[in-house]
Symmetry: D2
Subunit: 343 residues, 4 copies
């Protein structure tokens, strides 16, 4: 069994990692590190794991050697701790924002501070299997992208990589997200009475995931981020402009070709039905990212849509998929939960 | 007292008209017409009106003369009935889509059929007080805009009318809406178990309100429409590009000047706070449309945001505001409910 | 104009008092006291009051003389401050739990500590117009009951006062409540991601409102309290046993007689319809308490149901109704908002 | 592989059966029968099964021989079809209400009509593993109980079977349920705008699951049923009276002993924590029924609480658990999904 440690195990991403890793047939969780709850039962914080585990949270120094470390730490903390973990494990998978950008200057602009470990930026392989699967097979450092970035990138990548989009016009992304994306720490903004039923534009410009989308797509992305009523779930709607002459058939073929062999990307663009475009409602708990599109041939205007569970394909599940690839295991191992309907 | 009739009184817009008109000090509701429930108590369908009214629904032929008629009929029905009402009342306010566009060809494209009364299209004054207040004072026919159109237009109008926007780049609107917008008729798509928690892109392109936005703003608008978890509430987020040289100060001034004297438009664009941008959550039941904006001076990219209650400022309340203007009453009469927080 | 002060004006009950009092034609709000936000704009905390008020929060010592004080303080704080306010105002209306019980021993049992002002317990008139309207007309001290207590008491009182219930069997109340009842202070338990969609039995036994119900009904009440998905709204379902021989007709008559003249209690017990029993969904923002009942004549088992908005009839609205009675104003003044449907 | 057929496969229980059976390692789904959608793709109705199955719905006469049939039909239909299935399969598991009661007279009272196959009532083994595991091992007919009945029975059974409850006082159950319990057929009552945020007492007395609880516990149960805001999830809160002298320790021991070896019942009654009592929020998709209790030793009043996912342990999951027992497979096979937190 591969011995894994989760750092930041009391958060929502940490909890989701534990759920997936405890159920993973090739893995043994040998440490669930929490600075807030050392010695407490894991299922006291993650009650869905009652009867699934008797683990206690521990502190970092209680962990022996291990094979893989998942860092589910707050942004800005990961970059100060990563090197203590590279010494102990042969693979470190980071789920914070700290190593998602490869340019320290862009980092400064989007994060508002200097990067503390810029020499490591190039060493991290982006944890996006659909774009970086091959690099990942030998990686020692993987940085899992932001939840909205995964959705935004996968929704437009097939067209960008085939040159079907007019890069001059850029791409405008509208991202909607549930409340779990802001983490497990209570504050006035995520008080239930304030957050419930909200349509809260918390980042009309300058959201950090915007920088990731621009990086991976290689075009100027403008993103707004809105909190809507949901706990889990991310959806991005993207406006872009097709190059002259690109028709529906070319778009359809691009998506089909790109994702035909992908285990966790489904093209959802139907003529009818309640769920004819990607909706996170049916993806919660699953590792799928559904992507779809619609276009107006007269004007060349394109709309693409993507949906995922921010804690799974937008975080912990994506990290486990990376692990599976890295270890040479079947890519879907431990990730087969299909989602619930209705929910 | 001015005698008013509501046609289509059993629907959601109809019910909201009744709530507002029953509470209006200058108005007497002399008819609540419903083809489905003639003879039934109004508060059996609109239970919030228990103890507020003993009205029964009636059929169209039971209504005597009256002063004002509000048509809250399904799209495509209004245009076949409007002329029977112009004979009976001196003011007809239509809340359907039938007379929102002034071009029969555009109507055909967006509604997928021929208009049945194209000769009347030019006679309707758009029920947008903020753009057409003066025309409204003598109007005999008023057509209240679609809920997402009101939000979209008000969010961008101050900049468009001052020439601060690059019209070449158009404007991309992302509209989110609650379930009441699809009306009171049950079907698989609005079953609670299916609609609850959804992020359903029901119109990635070609939504009818898009045509209204283009008409009123005079630029090419692209709109997507998504149903999110809410019963009431519409929010539009718009991406546009400023003309070179337009800075934050010019934008701020445009909004302030435009809406300083408007009783129902508030500019909401604060540096901090949970509700620093427009959110329908605090507007439910009220007639406000809140508008806000954010811009990235480096790139000239602008985001504007608007929020309203689709049944009030996006429908019934806006119609009553038009009535107040038309009759020379104080514009806020019967419309002073401020909204609830938290809700 | 009657000059009123709200103490604890930044909380949810405080905000609702401000909404109602600002809209009240006989009242001027001369102080909105908040120890957390002195000098800040009221509408920064209560965004629904934007454009309704320019008030700033102030501290207690900034308030001059006034006529009426509403104390919307945390439990246990009110009893230490009440006497400083009785000196300044001729009427003090307390909305905390501190003076809801008239027995210091019962207080100790339910609140887990000694009462700090037991000599005042008998001086407070219970703020339940339906039971204590006459006493209220000359009151100097009024204590508004707990939200679940108002619902529970009003649901069963008509039968208890007519001796139709078997007091030996007591009454079992099941109360459900939205999240606003736990106040505006953020903590892990009311984090959106934790509270959303919950059915959280937070008080299976021993909830404080249980003691109030027992007091007002004069029989042993057992109450459970469960947080359900809602921000506002309380519903109580009560199981009781009728005395032998009491039939449906006697029960119906009891409710009708008791509440025929009550402006804010409606009997809702219909044969059909979606809202045939009391549901807070249609009461939000309104001052109604709807009550209903159903019985099984074979077994004598009775179910009663009540619903209200916990911040209005369960708090601020009830307090304003008491004020109206005390001042000799029309009882419904400032309280006529009927609620919204759908919402 | 065991060949199973699901009849009524387009409903919500049918869909959940398909989800569980498609993921079950010992089972092959050889027929998904739907009278409404024959020939249509299963994943068109159950979009969470996209990429999990290519099955098409079929009609009853298209199904060959099979080993097991699950009937997920509307109430009253199952009893007219059961005998056509007993001829074709060696095990029939019924999930409707038709065979949940063993007394045709009680059936008539609760269902309002005559039973069409009363001679079969005694042949069905109740599909409650916790009470009838042994009978189930050789059963040919199993009737899975109602969702609220499973919760209510499991919550009180340990005390009833040990004689710790005063049967004279009966037990009062308050059941809350999500909207999926009323099925996938759209109607005014489950329209999203009407059902959202509701606290709808749809059965203050006489709910059918009440009869099941009385049957299995052998004491008079009174149950109310309320729809609350949720799609999935059932919670029952029960008031009962302990026999004199029964203390907390005896109650705790009863629950522990009863459920120590049960794979899908967890005793949840903690001193602190957000999820210290059973809450369906963390059980969605899982087959657990969590049960808890609290008591007031002074009065002997007991509150018990149970929670489950109505479509899983309250339906399809429970049926699969019965299948596992009947076939001699590990009882948890295909049922190990632990639930999500947060959700």
């Amino acid at each position: 069994m591969t011995r894994v440690v989760v750092v930041g195990a009391a958060g929502y991403i940490g909890g989701e990692l534990l759920r997936l890793l405890i159920g993973h047939p090739e893995v043994e969780v040998v440490g669930a590190i929490s600075s807030r709850f050392p010695g407490k039962r894991v299922d006291g914080v993650h009650p869905n794991l009652r009867s699934a585990t008797d683990l206690l949270f521990c502190s970092a120094d209680q962990v022996d050697e291990c094979d893989v470390v998942f860092l589910a730490l707050p942004h800005r903390v990961a970059m100060t701790q990563v090197e203590q973990w590279t010494r102990r494990a042969k693979l470190v998978v980071d789920l914070a924002g700290d190593f998602r950008l490869d340019d320290a200057e862009v980092f400064r602009r989007y994060y508002g501070e200097e990067h503390q470990a810029p020499h490591l930026l190039d060493d991290f392989v982006p944890g996006l299997p659909e774009l970086h699967r091959e690099n990942m097979r030998t990686a020692e450092l993987i940085s899992v992208p932001g939840c909205m970035a995964v959705a935004g990138v996968l929704a437009l990548y097939p067209l960008v990589t085939r040159g079907l989009i007019d890069p001059e016009r850029g791409a405008q992304f509208d991202a909607r997200t549930g409340s779990s994306g802001s983490g497990a720490t209570a504050g006035p903004a995520n008080l239930h009475a304030e957050r419930s039923g909200a349509m809260r534009v918390f980042a009309p410009t300058g959201h950090r995931h915007e920088a990731e989308i621009s990086r991976h797509l290689g075009l100027p992305a403008a993103m707004t981020a809105t909190g809507v009523e949901a706990v889990r779930g991310v959806q991005t709607v993207c406006h872009a402009t097709l190059r002259p002459g690109v028709d529906t058939q070319a778009v359809r073929r691009a998506y089909r070709e790109q994702y035909a062999a992908e285990p966790f990307v489904r093209v959802v663009a139907h003529q009818r039905g309640i769920f004819r475009y990607p909706d996170p409602k049916i993806l919660l708990g699953s590792n799928y990212c559904d992507v779809g599109y619609a276009l107006d041939e007269d004007t060349g205007r394109l709309t693409t849509i993507a949906a995922l569970d921010n804690l799974v394909k937008g975080g912990a599940g994506n990290a486990v998929q990376c692990l599976n690839i890295r270890m040479g295991w079947p890519e879907t191992l431990g990730l087969t939960f299909p989602g619930l309907h209705p929910l």
